[in-house]
Amino acid sequence: MIINHPLLGPRDSEEFVYLGSTDLINRPDWESGTAAEDFHQYQYIRENVAGDNPELWYHEQGDQSWLVVTRNTLTHEIKSVELAADYARRMGRSK
């Protein structure tokens, strides 16, 4: 697979390390009353999407940026690539 890095252009997916779906950005609040259950959901339970899946890829063999790659899990087609920081801000986070 070729990942179109927003800063570096087309790169081989071998340069990246895959982490998982972007749900992993939303780490639960450890001070919440439901923290134990929230962390169980966050750490262990997966949506496991069949279709377009926004996911976190780390450019370890490159500029070490975190990217959000929206990829179809049925076809391996990559729909969009953006910096994870941009994605997180768009989702209403500060970083």
Partner: protein, 420 residues
């Protein structure tokens, strides 16, 4: 219903009488309008084994196995056919040893030639630390009566001269061997269990995709399928590879990610290896099929996917693993490669459990260890379905084990499914 009993005498008799006495191996059925005591969703090895043991061990024969495509079209026909019971942890080892014992008697039990070949499996050791770890595992295996042997470098060199024992980076210092391990003809497992279950009265319904579950007040009473609604006392999902998609229809999320695992076979060669050999410093395992092809595999592709095909970087990675221990493989041409979808669980171990919905059961999360587990998975799942109790060797395979901190993490890599 086929009552033909397979034997050498029968083959001889049919050979002399024009092969007119053979019957279809299993009975193709349509759904009964009155429903079933148990519906098994998924006609793979595990589903068919479950149906067989429900009928044989528990006398529950009003059972249907629903299969979206044709039986055995999923992972039971896509694996590298290896059987073994060389696990470390108490939650796993007795289960896989039960499976090995069932393999040993399978063909007599179901009267079907599954070509069970206990040719032995040899896990290579490349460092002193790994020797310690494998000796510890061997002790765990001995506790479970699985049998284990330690081989030193000279034993290996004499028996397998093609192994690169003096490799500068990954010297082979010894091996953990399980002589009872081996290979089985994988398709025959699906067909054999299908035949044996069908003979006991189980309905095998192919081209019947489950599109939803009928659930009222937290009780599952049947399934919606492409052949209409079918009523059931109990519904047993057994669709490893598609678990996420099927269970989502019941509103249940799982501690599972779907990943693709590739397997490979070379052109046919003269006999060179009489056992299964695994690389200890990378991920590579290999055996030689009866047709002569070297059958091998390695790591998963490491990103979520439902596509039954992988990408080239893993092909390179697996083949370089092979080259590191047996450079002769570089002279063989790769004939075919294929992929299957794995339920990768959060600790690398499977699930055989009830769910939060009454009368809906779940079996999955087999990572890439499902084939060897086929008989015990069916045996223990049938036990759970028939009695409502967990079989003693499968009692650790619970969906809530992460909440309880009771992971069964053989590799010790934590909740990162693509590393198991």
């Amino acid at each position: 219903m086929s009552k033909v009993r397979y034997s050498a005498f029968k083959v001889l008799k049919e050979a002399l009488s024009g092969h007119k006495g053979w019957e279809p191996v299993w009975r193709d059925a349509e759904p009964k309008t009155e429903g079933y005591d148990v519906i098994i969703v998924g006609g793979g090895g595990h589903g068919l084994a479950t149906a067989y043991y429900l009928a044989k061990n528990h006398g529950i024969t009003n059972v249907a196995v629903l299969e979206r495509g044709w039986i055995g079209s999923g992972n039971v026909g896509r694996n590298t056919t290896i059987i073994r019971s060389n696990y470390l942890l108490p939650g796993n080892e007795p289960f896989y040893e039960l499976s090995m014992q069932l393999w040993e008697n399978l063909e007599q039990d179901i009267n079907y030639n599954a070509m069970v070949s206990q040719r032995g499996i040899m896990n290579l050791i490349h460092s002193d630390a790994q020797r310690d770890a494998f000796v510890r595992r061997a002790n765990s295996m001995l506790f479970a009566d699985a049998g284990a042997e330690y081989l030193n470098q000279d034993d290996i060199k004499d028996r397998y001269p093609f192994l690169d024992v003096k490799n500068a980076r990954f010297p082979i210092k010894g091996a953990l061997s399980q002589p009872r391990g081996g290979t089985v003809r994988h398709d025959a497992v699906a067909w054999g269990y299908a035949r044996a279950a069908s003979n006991l009265g189980v309905d095998i319904i192919q081209n019947c995709e489950v599109k939803g579950f009928n659930i009222d007040n937290g009780v599952c009473s049947g399934v919606k399928t492409t052949k209409g609604d079918i009523k059931a006392g109990r519904v047993a999902v057994c669709v490893a590879g598609s678990s996420g998609r099927v269970m989502a229809q019941a509103g249940i999320k799982l501690p599972i990610e779907s990943h693709v695992l590739q397997a490979f076979v070379t052109e046919g060669l003269k006999p060179v290896m009489d056992n299964v050999i695994t690389f200890g410093a990378g991920h590579f395992y290999c055996s030689q099929s009866d047709k002569g092809g070297l059958v091998f595999g390695g790591d998963i592709d490491a990103y979520n996917t439902y596509a039954q095909r992988g990408n080239l970087p893993v092909v390179e990675d697996v083949c370089s693993g092979g080259m590191a221990i047996m450079p002769m493989i570089g002279r063989a041409r790769l004939l075919r490669s294929w992929g299957g979808i794995m339920d990768m669980s959060m600790d690398g171990s499977p699930f055989i459990d009830k769910t939060e919905i009454n009368e809906l059961y779940f079996n999955g999360g087999w990572c890439y260890g499902g084939f060897k587990a086929t008989p015990a998975s069916g045996y223990c799942y049938a036990h759970l379905l028939a009695t409502g109790e967990y079989h003693e060797v499968a009692s650790a395979f619970r969906l809530d084990r992460f909440r309880r901190g009771a992971m069964i993490d053989e590799k010790g890599v934590g909740p990162q499914p693509n590393l198991h």
